[in-house]
């Protein structure tokens, strides 16, 4: 699992910017105010135009493919979405509920499975990072189990729990625990020796070392682990629900496939994408708040 330090880069590069920057630099400013205005305009152009262009291209491409293959195009999907989201929370029986309920059900499974993974994974990560013995002890287990495809755990869950709901949560738990453990442990091994030397000189208690030095130092790594882990959980839930049934966005996709409502499948793809994006952004936002600046 890659360890990404949570420091979003300040510079947004786009393909267009080098050219525009050159023009801006060469132009002789009539006045400083005008120059600043130009720079702001160029920044705005660079940050708004390329993404908008990308989205436009995407929609055009989609329309073209829809035209050729017969899947619903952007307009048809949009109409269907308007109908679908006009009553997101209806309930017409245990297996026929509004899209809102399906999303919330999936989110609650992800929340439970991920929450358990964090509850167990974070302390484990600290132990593994702090004590070499624990690291050597756990290394073979982690290397063996981490690459296992999440859905391979589903039959075990079904066998043990005899029910779809806990089995799905189990799959989320087991597939999202690894990034948390690994990133937390990596964070602990990366705590600068200087900080630990302060603890040693002052002979701080193990509790103080944890709360004042280890935890704050590891937090950015931990949040990276959490971000990756929620990403995995959200990826996995759709597939798991397809297999287990019930209420949830994954099951809903499968149901709509059985009803041959292809526009709903496309809507589901957007919903999954957007919810995943929002989850990631929420954690990035949290990470920014807890990030500390060195020097």
């Amino acid at each position: 699992m890659s360890v990404v330090k949570l420091k979003p880069s300040a510079t947004q590069t786009s393909l267009l910017s080098p050219m525009l920057e050159v023009t801006a630099a060469v132009a002789i400013p009539a006045s400083a105010g005008k120059q600043r205005y130009r720079e702001a305009a160029i920044t705005l152009l660079n940050s708004v135009v390329p993404p908008a262009l990308g989205m436009l291209l995407f929609v055009l491409l989609w329309a073209q493919i829809a035209h050729l293959s017969g899947i619903p195009g952007p307009l048809k999907t949009w109409e269907a979405a308007k109908v679908l989201f006009s009553h997101p929370f209806y309930v017409k029986g245990p297996n026929d509920q509004g899209i809102g309920w399906n999303i919330l059900q999936s989110l609650s499974r992800v929340g439970l499975g991920f929450g358990l993974a964090a509850l167990i994974g974070i302390p484990l990560g600290f132990l593994i990072g702090r004590f070499g013995f624990m690291r050597r002890l756990s290394a073979p287990i982690i290397s063996l189990l981490r690459p296992v495809s999440p859905l391979a755990w589903l039959p075990i869950g079904l066998y043990v729990f005899k029910e779809a709901q806990p089995a799905a949560i189990w799959v989320i738990f087991i597939s999202s625990i690894w990034p948390i453990i690994i990133n937390t442990a990596t964070g602990v091994t990366h705590v600068p020796q200087d900080y630990l030397n302060i603890a040693r000189v002052l002979q701080l208690s193990e509790w103080k070392v944890f709360t004042r030095i280890l935890f704050p130092a590891v937090l950015p790594y931990m949040l990276t682990g959490i971000r990756l882990s929620i990403g995995v959980a959200w990826l996995v839930i759709v597939a798991a629900e397809m297999l287990t049934g019930g209420v949830g966005i994954g099951f809903w996709v499968w149901d709509e496939w059985n009803n041959l409502k292809v526009e709903h499948i496309i809507i589901a793809i957007f919903v999954v994408g957007i919810v995943g994006l929002l989850l990631e952004q929420a954690i990035l936002w949290a990470a920014k708040r807890f990030e500390y600046k060195e020097d």
């Binding site: 200087d194 030397n197 002052l202 002979q203 004042r212």
Partner: protein
Amino acid sequence: MQGFVQLENVQKTFRTKQGEFVALRDINLSVAQGEFVSLIGHSGCGKSTLLNLVAGLFDASDGVMLCAGREIAGPGPDRGVVFQNHSLLPWMSCQANVYLAVERVFGGNESKLQLQQRVDAALSLVGLTHAARKMPHEISGGMKQRVGIARALAIAPKVLLLDEPFGALDALTRAHLQDELMRIVAASGTTSIMVTHDVDEAVLLSDRIVMMTNGPAATIGQILPIDLPRPRNRLELVADPHFAQLRAEVLTFLYQRAGLAA
């Protein structure tokens, strides 16, 4: 007579992938109470290693190390350390960094208010009362180093250990902090051991300069007493022929004798 800090036949061997590496050998040094001693030598000779041994952050491979008559068996707040790169915890304000140390040492029998007063006193000693609530990344390198000194002094250590405390600073800031350190140490009478590679700094601040031979297996090559009267004034010393002579002695050692086995 036994020194306040006493090192006898101290040796330090590191176990590395290429086998045993003897960093220091035959270190004999006695530092008197209230004395200011500098360790000077070429980069990589083992100055930090020696300081870390006294701090208790490293274990000696051989020999005896005493501080205030007791064997050094690990780090402890009786020896305050000022680290080379300030080492302030970046998630705490300057005040909180100092408080962490003060709380550990005096928290047992003093009230929160008393602890806070100690923090305030330490920060005001280094002239940083106004920056108490600032985070480390909001202040300059020189200010950070001053907070580091305040943190080390706030716990009223028996010995102050400084590892190139001003190494990363510009010349003007360094001169300013040297003067401040001289004033603080003179006022508190704290026994101090400072690592430096700056000859002027060593002569200006020290009662004795411990000059180390080059590694590997470095040892003390020569000890030079600095008998300049205190308080010392850097501007007056520039014109002082005795200062120039002491300075020349250190330079001569560093450039002619440090490479020769002692």
